[in-house]
C-alpha cells in the first residue's frame, strides 16, 4: 500500500511519458488491426468497423491515480467509433471525462447490467447487455460474455452494485474478437466462451495487476492465468492489456511483461501468437483481402482445443 502511495505521489508531480502515435488510427488496407491506447483501452478495426474498449484518455483515473504514459492515440484523430465497449464501472474503465471528450464520435456504447446507472446522460445511444445477450446492426455484432469480477464503482456501493461487469465478443467481416475487460481466472467461463464462439481471431486479455496476489487473485488474472485463458478461449492471437499505464497496483514497472514472457515458455504457442504492443503501437493482424485459415494444432498440443480445459505444457527443463 505504501509503495502504491509513494508511486502515486511521485507520479502526480511528473508528466506522462511521451509515446509515438499513429496519426491515422484506421488503415484502409487492414481487415483486422489493433492499437493499444494504454491500460484496457484498445482501438480495434475489423474491416470498416471501429471498436474502442474501455476508453480512458484522461490524465488521472479516480482523481488520484496518475497516468504514466500518454494515451497511444489522440482522441481528435479518431474516426467515428461504431461501438464503445465498457467492461465494468471502475474509474479506470468507465471514464466519464473520457466519454465527454469522445461524445461526438461515439455511435453506440455498451455497458454491463446496471451500467447505465453510472453513465450519466450523454448524446450517444447506450445499452446494457446481460450475459450472452447480443446486439447486431449493419454487420457488427456485439455479445456480452461472462467474466469474473466485481460490479461496484465506489466501494461503498458494494451492497447493491453486484452485476456490473462483463466481457464482450465482437463479430464483423467474418472475424471474432474477444475483450476480457477485467477478470479473474475462471476456466469454465473462458471454455464456454470458446465453445460458443469458436475461432476467435484476437483476444484482448488483461495481465495485471498482479500484486498483492492474495487480494488480486479473486479479481484479476495474472499473466500466467491470462495465457491459460487465451488457450481456454481457443483464440489465435492475444494482445495483453491492463498493465503499466496507471499507478494503481503494487506491481513493479515491467513486471507484467516479464511474467508474460515466463508464462509463454510454459506453453507451445504456435500456431497461436501473443502480441504485446507498446502504447500507441498498431499491429495489422489480418490484411484486407487476406483469408483466415483455420488453426492446425499438433496432436500433443491440442489440450487448448475449445471445449477442453487448457493445461500448460511445461518445457522438458521444468520437469
Amino acid at each position: 500500500m505504501g509503495k502504491v502511495l509513494g508511486r502515486s505521489v511521485s507520479a502526480l508531480v511528473s508528466s506522462p511519458a511521451k509515446v509515438a502515435k499513429e496519426k491515422v488510427p484506421v488503415r484502409p488496407d487492414a481487415r483486422l488491426a489493433v492499437i493499444w491506447v494504454g491500460h484496457a483501452t484498445a482501438l480495434v478495426q475489423i474491416g470498416d468497423k471501429v471498436i474502442l474498449t474501455d476508453p480512458v484518455f484522461t490524465s488521472t483515473v479516480g482523481q488520484v491515480s496518475k497516468r504514466k504514459m500518454e494515451p497511444g492515440v489522440d482522441p481528435e484523430t479518431l474516426p467515428k467509433i461504431d461501438a464503445v465497449l465498457v467492461s465494468h464501472l471502475h474509474y479506470d474503465h468507465l471514464s466519464l471525462g473520457s466519454l465527454e471528450i469522445l461524445e461526438p464520435k461515439i455511435r453506440q456504447l455498451f455497458l454491463p447490467p446496471t451500467g447505465l446507472r453510472y453513465l450519466t446522460d450523454f448524446g450517444f445511444p447506450a445499452l446494457e447487455l446481460g450475459p450472452w445477450q447480443t446486439w447486431e446492426k449493419d454487420g457488427l455484432k456485439v455479445t456480452a460474455v461472462p467474466v469474473a469480477h466485481v460490479g461496484f464503482r465506489y466501494g461503498v456501493d458494494i451492497e447493491y452494485m453486484q452485476e456490473g461487469f462483463t466481457g464482450y465478443v465482437v463479430e464483423a467481416d467474418g472475424i471474432r474478437v474477444y475483450f476480457g475487460g477485467d477478470t479473474a481466472y475462471d476456466q469454465r467461463l473462458f471454455v464456454e466462451v470458446g465453445q460458443r464462439f469458436p475461432d476467435i481471431e484476437l483476444a484482448l486479455l488483461p495481465i495485471g495487476p498482479i500484486e498483492p496476489r492474495a487480494l488480486m487473485r479473486s479479481y484479476h488474472v495474472d499473466p500466467h492465468e491470462a495465457v491459460s485463458a487465451f488457450f481456454d478461449l481457443g483464440a489465435r492471437r492475444m494482445v495483453p492489456v491492463h498493465y503499466d499505464t496507471f499507478v494503481n497496483a503494487a506491481d513493479e514497472p515491467g513486471e507484467a511483461l516479464r511474467e508474460l514472457e515466463e508464462a509463454k515458455k510454459r506453453w507451445k504457442l504456435p500456431p497461436r501468437e501473443i502480441v504485446p504492443l507498446r502504447v500507441g503501437e498498431r499491429r495489422v493482424l489480418v490484411k484486407k483481402g487476406e483469408k483466415l485459415t483455420p488453426m492446425v494444432l499438433d496432436a500433443p498440443e491440442t489440450n487448448a482445443k475449445p471445449g477442453a480445459p487448457a493445461k500448460p505444457k511445461k518445457d522438458e527443463d521444468d520437469d
Binding site: 484522461t58 447505465l116 447487455l129 447493491y160 453486484q162
Partner: protein, 196 residues
C-alpha cells in the same frame, strides 16, 4: 359465363397436389430478436454502509458573536431528484443516494442535525433544499452546490449554503450563512458524504 363455370368445375375436380411429394415452403420461423435492452435498476436499500455513512458526522466550526465553536453535522436525504443520470434510469433517490446521482446534477430535500459545543452550545434541526451542479467529469472530479435551510431558534431562521465537492462527492467544503442569527452567523463545514 358458361365456359367459365365449366372451367371452375374442372379445377375443383382435379386431384389435390401431393404435399409429401413436394413440400410447400412454410414460413421461416426465427426466435424473437433480442431487443429487451431495458436497464437493470439496482435495488438501493439502507444497508450497513449507508448506516455507517449516515452516522459519520461532518466536522464544522460556527462563527458568531462569541468565540468560534466546534461542531458536528449530520444529514439524511429523504428525497433527491437527479437531472444528471441517464434518461433511461430513474432520477429519484430515497434515503440512499449513490454519489453520481447527486454530483451529476440534482435537487435534494434534506434534513440536517447540527451539534455545536463551545461558546455556542446548541443543537439545530434544519430541513433544507440544495441543488448540486457538475463542473468536471460529470461532477465526480468537482461539483458545486447551493442551498437554503430553515431552523427554529428564537423564531424561524433562514440559512444559505454554498460549497463544493471532489472525489465523487465524498469530500467537500461549504460555508453556511445565517444573516439573522447573531450567535451562529456562519458555519464552515468539511463535508463527508457516503450514500446519504
Amino acid at each position: 359465363m358458361k365456359r367459365a363455370l365449366l372451367a371452375a368445375l374442372a379445377l375443383t375436380c382435379l386431384p389435390a397436389p401431393s404435399l409429401a411429394a413436394e413440400p410447400v415452403p412454410g414460413p421461416h420461423l426465427v426466435g424473437p430478436p433480442e431487443v429487451h435492452y431495458a436497464p437493470t435498476e439496482p435495488n438501493l436499500y439502507p444497508g450497513w454502509v449507508w448506516l455507517a455513512g449516515t452516522a459519520l458526522p461532518s466536522p464544522a466550526t460556527a462563527f458568531g458573536s462569541g468565540a468560534p465553536s466546534f461542531g458536528l453535522r449530520w444529514q439524511v436525504t429523504p428525497l433527491l431528484w437527479s437531472f444528471g443520470v441517464h434518461r433511461a434510469t430513474s432520477p429519484w433517490r430515497i434515503l440512499v443516494v449513490d454519489p453520481i446521482a447527486r454530483v451529476s446534477g440534482s435537487i435534494e430535500l434534506y434534513g440536517g442535525f447540527d451539534w455545536f459545543f463551545g461558546s455556542v452550545h446548541d443543537t439545530l434541526i434544519r430541513p433544507g433544499i440544495r441543488t448540486t451542479l457538475p463542473v468536471f467529469h460529470r461532477g465526480e472530479y468537482l461539483s458545486v452546490f447551493f442551498g437554503t435551510s430553515l431552523y427554529d431558534r428564537v423564531g424561524t431562521k433562514v440559512a444559505y449554503d454554498a460549497g463544493f465537492s471532489i472525489f465523487s462527492g465524498f469530500l467537500g467544503a461549504s460555508a453556511t450563512w445565517a444573516p439573522e442569527d447573531e450567535r451562529v452567523r456562519a458555519i464552515a463545514t468539511i463535508h463527508l458524504r457516503v450514500l446519504h
